[in-house]
Assembly symmetry: C2
Homo-oligomer: 148 residues x 2
């Protein structure tokens, strides 16, 4: 017996109640911010957003799935670039309104700019300085179209 969530997507394991999804304090848009941290390095890779379906699929599949606010659809991280995120741990914070994923980052590139992570600008001398190199050009990664 499996439970299904909105849109008929099964939630979690067979027979599992979705109480753990109900414990998340979704915001008024039904979203929660999710931080991805690289397991080996401890590096904070990115922050994206999840809806209930994205978090359920993340846990079910073992790969990070976000909700793209700009495209208004599920965003299976790495689906076009190959830069998927294998999820090793899922954490929830004290208020239940932020998720932390501990992941293995395929290709060592989390950012759509071709950098290892998204926080490549650092405040220095009163301005944002780019402090991380581009590992692979986005044109090469995406074949000309920006994606994930």
């Amino acid at each position: 017996m499996s439970r299904t969530g909105e849109r008929g997507v099964p939630e979690g394991r067979r027979g599992e109640r979705a109480a753990w999804l109900d414990a998340v304090a979704w915001n008024e848009q039904g979203l929660v911010p999710a931080i991805a941290q690289e397991a080996a390095s401890g590096r904070v890779l990115m922050l994206a957003w999840m809806n209930r379906e994205a978090l359920a699929e993340t846990v079910r599949s073992g790969y990070a799935v976000y909700w793209s606010r700009s495209r208004q659809r599920l965003w299976r991280k790495g689906e076009s670039s190959g830069h998927r995120q294998r999820v090793r741990e899922v954490h929830l914070d004290c208020d239940g309104d932020t998720v932390l994923l501990v992941v293995e980052q395929a290709g060592g590139i989390a950012c759509h700019t071709g950098r290892a992570h998204c926080f490549f600008r650092r405040l220095q001398e009163g301005g944002w300085e780019v402090v991380e190199p581009v590992i692979e050009a986005p044109e090469t990664i995406y074949g000309g179209t920006r994606d994930d």
Copy 2:
């Protein structure tokens, strides 16, 4: 000559233009999520929100200042608990809509529950399990009133 932001609070160093604050993609409430990561351990401590004034004061003072959405006022982290966060680095992500602070956490306690960090619940066997101990009871930290 110093520039002042809304509410007459000086922004950044003397004579500095606030272009770096303009580069942040504040949301429709004028806020941006800010992740605090511990410098020494790499541990992700918490996520909170900042408005322009909070980020400006963070940089000016060198200590993390957030915007409390529940209290609708500036939240100088640690002001009552002493668990301040000394800011060593400030990063901005590719889309400009998330800030990452690299901090030194005073007292080794970032969470109002008395734990080292806020992500102390981990998804295991289909439920959230508490995987971090309370280091100091909140009653001791705050003298009976929940605060920061």
